[in-house]
Symmetry: C2
Subunit: 231 residues, 2 copies
DNA sequence: TCAATAGTGTCTTTTAGACATTATATG
DNA sequence: CATATAATGTCTAAAAGACACTATTGA
């Protein structure tokens, strides 16, 4: 096998999403390369010969954002392999979608931070390095779609959680308001989505009835699904 | 960067599905490597430095199965990168899901052929090389799931097609029987799924009313989705 | 007390599934 | 004619959405 006919670089890029202040946020970092100054990028690393792809994704989060999230939900998004997606060399990148609850998502590295995804479409949005401007919309749409037919929303909250918190996830990711009563009935009607635990969560400053607490159920897929409004 | 810290092989493996005789079939080939004699494998090739991933997938179909399917539906499934998934070397494989209508799927190479996917779970099933025994169930489940909420079923039929042919796709992929009347109403109710064209298809030998013909509509996602029975 | 939020009940509209009926072909 | 398949209509049960009502807290 000659060098001219085999690819010699595999990387991972991680699109980590979380919900902050009732809005969907994306983790971005400043690239190392001074050529890319002024741009932002997804945390990404070359994959080493002795590590798996998922391991490399976790390492990228730790090394570039100072984020230790061993229990974050991590799933492959797609592999981006256009010949000239990286102008310096042929690099095939395995993109990951990561989801974490807000409390566990606190980047410590300078240059790493969360950006409201709504700001990505607004004028004055930061430009993204490489082809990350294509990866990010794919990641957001994947998250939005999987909330419908999988139990993925629970990856955004810490256990135990209330149904209001879970509803807040759906509202932030989809960008819509949902009826609390109907949301409750749909969640409870999806077998194995959430399981009740003892105790209640105290109400906020304005008062209100204490909310029951739940933890993740065994279901991966939701039957019936939680369909987005406005078909 | 030293060779010890960078991966030096990217491959593609293609799981091509089609419907033959009202059943879902998978394309399999005999591996080149004599060490793997007696096993079957998905068609796969190393990715060359000067070709994209999709190009490599098409090339694998052509070179290993004699299958020219430039208009087949091709989408990434997942990238398999376990450190020792290939015992000879570290190879990261981008797995593809391909879907073709029966008429266009005629492998010409010896050793290449279609296998009823039901035979994969039966006793006496052929053993698959590498980790292809893990890729194949992922591919089948992806196809089954995407029939629910995307217009992917039309990738299995040639235009123009009848609703009975489209229903046959759902029945073969899901392995269930569907009510023709209700199926029709759901298909026609999903905006942009299929569009009528002029003319009719002649009935079979036993007679019957001629069926109207349709072509693919512009919709990628189905609203509302075609949910699988037996929730 | 009122305001706020959680949780339940109920009504209406929509949708899914079962299945009868009509239309148009073959033999 | 009988038989087969396409296409439409109808009925019922389930589900979705709107929203009223009750429960339990903070101020």
């Amino acid at each position: 096998m000659s060098a001219a006919t085999s690819i010699c670089a595999v990387a991972v890029d991680v699109a980590l999403l979380t919900v902050r202040d009732q809005r969907l946020h994306l983790l971005l970092v400043e690239p190392d390369d001074p050529v890319l100054a002024g741009l932002l990028a997804l945390p990404g690393r070359r994959v080493r010969d002795d590590e798996g792809l998922d391991d490399a994704a976790h390492r990228a989060l730790g090394e570039l954002a100072g984020l230790q999230a061993p229990d974050a939900h991590l799933e492959q998004l797609r592999t981006y392999g256009e010949v000239s997606r990286d102008p310096r060399a042929r690099v095939v990148s395995v993109a990951y979608l990561a989801l974490t609850p807000t409390a566990r998502a606190a980047p410590t590295h300078p240059g790493a931070g969360f950006l409201d995804v709504a700001a990505l479409d607004a004028p004055g949005a930061p430009r993204l390095a490489y082809d990350h401007g294509r990866i990010v919309p794919d990641a957001i749409e994947r998250a939005r779609a999987k909330l419908e037919y999988t139990a993925l929303a629970t990856a955004f909250v810490t256990e135990p959680f209330t149904l209001a918190e879970l509803r807040g996830v759906y509202e932030a990711v989809w960008g819509v308001a949902l009826d609390p009563a109907n949301f409750r009935r749909k969640v409870m009607g999806a077998a194995g989505f959430v399981l009740p635990v003892s105790g209640t969560a105290p109400p906020g400053r304005g008062g209100g009835r204490p909310a029951r607490r739940y933890r993740r159920g065994p279901a991966q897929r939701l039957h019936p699904p939680m369909l987005r409004p406005e078909r």
